[in-house]
């Protein structure tokens, strides 16, 4: 007897050799997602990612609110990196409405974005540590993350969800002692960061588990359209901050970190090395920043976009984030599409896990720098 199944559902035949495992949807470290994994003994035969448990329809919500009202909810997909996910939206709206940003605001935005990148990478690293059973590597980044959260709190008034970047600049100026405090804390952090090397990255257990597992070749990294640390770990030198510099990144002194191995170890190491570059950017930006001046261009109340569209992108902690904004002479955008790094890297998961040992799954999965809430939007 054949039964009529609702669309999207299918019957599964059970094989006595292959076992199906549901990894998730309860996620120990972030928003929920599920991997449907088929295993033959200890080896993964296939992997079918099933995201969507934290799909909140950010893009749909954006069609109902005007350009300013959209700011606070668009940062929700990745609250630890809220400045970076708002950045392309602000750039896009500025291009759409023809807004000029004051010079000082551009530097403050870059500082906020880099501080936020460190907050995100430290949180990611903490969970990476606990995924691999290294509880010191959970405690240290989680503690050091407070340094940057305190700085961002001094800038914006909020600890995690700042809504600090707005079209036209930033919401408010820096507090008076910010520069001195920021330099002091960044200097401490750089010293501290070197200790991570000994306890985590030179750890023989970590190396044994991650080196040579989940190898993504350069050709495949390009073909699969990956982005961010996954792409750079496979030897492709691509960083939006260098390739398409926005705001003042072209004036600042930093390098992109590229590794050739393409394995889980390289993918776990690239974000760590990028934090050194972030510290360099912060120090350089504080030095080159105009010491006074306006930080926000005043907008008209309820500004309308023309009959136009823009696509703007920035480099976030997880790779490029692109905003495609279509406007039709209304105060609300007609369509907002957010193309995020996590969603683009998701395609690697079935590819890399196939043939891998089940025990290597956490290292490969979290090494992809995947943030479920951001991928679902």
């Amino acid at each position: 007897m054949t039964t009529q199944l609702p669309p999207g559902m299918h019957l599964e035949t059970v094989d006595d050799k292959i076992m199906t495992l549901n990894v998730g949807p309860q996620h120990p470290g972030s928003g929920h997602m599920r991997l449907i994994i088929k295993v033959d003994g200890d080896y993964i035969v296939s992997c079918d990612p099933d995201p969507g448990y934290v799909h909140r329809g950010e893009e749909k919500m954006a069609e109902y609110r005007n350009y300013i009202q959209n700011i606070p909810h668009l940062e929700r997909p990745v609250i630890h990196d809220s400045s970076n996910i708002l950045y392309p939206y602000c750039l896009g709206v500025e291009e759409l409405l023809g807004i000029e940003v004051p010079e000082r605001a551009k530097y403050i935005r870059v500082i906020a974005a880099e501080l936020n990148r460190c907050v995100y990478i430290l949180y990611w690293l903490a969970i990476y540590g606990i995924f691999l059973g290294h509880s010191t590597m959970f405690m240290w980044p989680a503690g050091d993350r407070e340094l940057f959260i305190d700085l961002l709190e001094a800038m914006s008034g909020a600890r995690v969800t700042h809504a600090y970047l707005v079209p036209g600049g930033v919401r408010n100026d820096l507090p008076s002692n910010f520069e001195e405090r920021c330099l002091r804390q960044v200097a401490y952090f750089e010293k501290r960061l070197k200790e991570y090397e000994d306890i985590f990255y030179q750890n023989p257990l970590l190396k044994a588990r991650t080196e040579g597992s989940g190898i993504l070749s350069r050709t495949d990294a390009i073909r699969l359209g990956t982005t961010g640390s996954v792409l750079r770990a496979s030897g492709v030198d691509f960083d939006v901050r260098k390739k398409e510099p926005y705001d003042v990144y072209e004036n600042l002194d930093f390098q992109t970190v590229v590794m050739k191995e393409g394995d889980s170890y390289a993918r776990s190491r690239i974000p760590y090395l990028e934090m050194f570059e972030s510290c360099r950017i912060i120090k350089d930006a504080l030095k080159k920043m105009p010491k006074s001046g306006s930080v926000r261009t005043k907008l008209k109340p309820n500004p309308k976009g023309g009959n136009d569209e823009v696509y703007r992108r920035v480099e976030s902690g997880r790779g490029a984030i692109g905003y495609y904004i279509v406007s039709n002479n209304r105060p609300e955008p007609y369509r907002v599409k957010i193309s995020v790094g996590s969603f683009r890297n998701l395609i690697c998961m079935p590819y890399l896990l196939k043939g891998e040992k089940l025990g290597n799954m956490p290292a490969v999965y979290w090494g992809l720098n995947y943030w479920p809430v951001e991928a679902d939007r």
Binding site: P7, P51, G57, I222, R313, K337, S339, F343, I347
Partner: protein, 220 residues
């Protein structure tokens, strides 16, 4: 008697208030020019929000657009050429050929995003592919937007109606999950895609594709 005077006072203030509000609200009988003058005296600026100044067409992007238009002629339409951005619209029958040309001759190698845009008034859904390049140094800044339009049905039946187009998955492997998302959110079926299932929505979703304009958020 005292209560009577109080009432009078209350009445007076309301009259005053209504007179004030009459002064600030726009009378209905005004023409457009009168209305603009009226608002200008109130200190409100009614000039268009977006300054419309023409920008020069950048040369490198122009040469790329010329290459593709000399190959396909009337089959494509160049919507705009701006610095770092080119947008081309084509018919859905030609999209695979155009995409292959973009990959092989213009050397774009991956898709950054695939967006659907719903236009219920013209009964069409637009699908926009944003393509980028990792291999070509010169194209690092560039984004190539390739768009096409598919017919839209008022009562959608995703997968079995005319809202369909050929998949670009064989040309750009990276569109696989993006096209799945477009399928569930807009009901555009991509022919030739190996795995056209839902991705983010629940398996038992029984409503219309939620990013279409006629799907309203409750209470809005």
């Amino acid at each position: 008697m005292s209560s009577g005077t109080e009432k009078d006072e209350v009445k007076d203030t309301t009259e005053e208030h209504s007179a004030n509000s009459d002064d600030t609200s726009r009378p209905d009988s005004m023409s457009k020019d009168e209305a603009i003058k009226f608002y200008e005296t109130k200190g409100l600026d009614l000039s268009p929000d977006v300054p419309t100044k023409p920008k020069p067409i950048p040369e490198f992007e122009k040469s790329m657009a010329d290459k593709i238009s000399s190959k396909f002629g009337d089959a494509i339409h160049i919507d705009y050429i701006r610095s770092d951005r080119i947008r081309v619209t084509t018919k859905r029958e030609n999209i695979v050929d155009v995409a292959k040309f973009i990959r092989d001759e213009l050397r774009y190698d991956h898709a950054e995003s695939v967006s659907g845009v719903d236009y219920p008034d013209s009964r069409e859904i637009e699908v926009v592919y944003h393509l980028g390049s990792y291999t070509d140094e010169k194209l690092g800044r560039q984004i190539f937007a390739l768009a096409t339009r598919v017919p839209r049905e008022d009562i959608p039946n995703p997968g079995s109606d005319t809202t369909r187009m050929p998949s670009l998955r064989d040309v750009f492997y990276s569109v696989e999950f993006h096209e799945r998302e477009c399928f569930e959110m807009f009901g555009v079926y991509f022919e030739g895609h190996p795995d056209m299932r839902r991705l983010l929505l629940p398996e038992d979703w029984a409503d219309i594709p939620p990013f279409r304009k006629d799907f309203k958020i409750k209470g809005r």
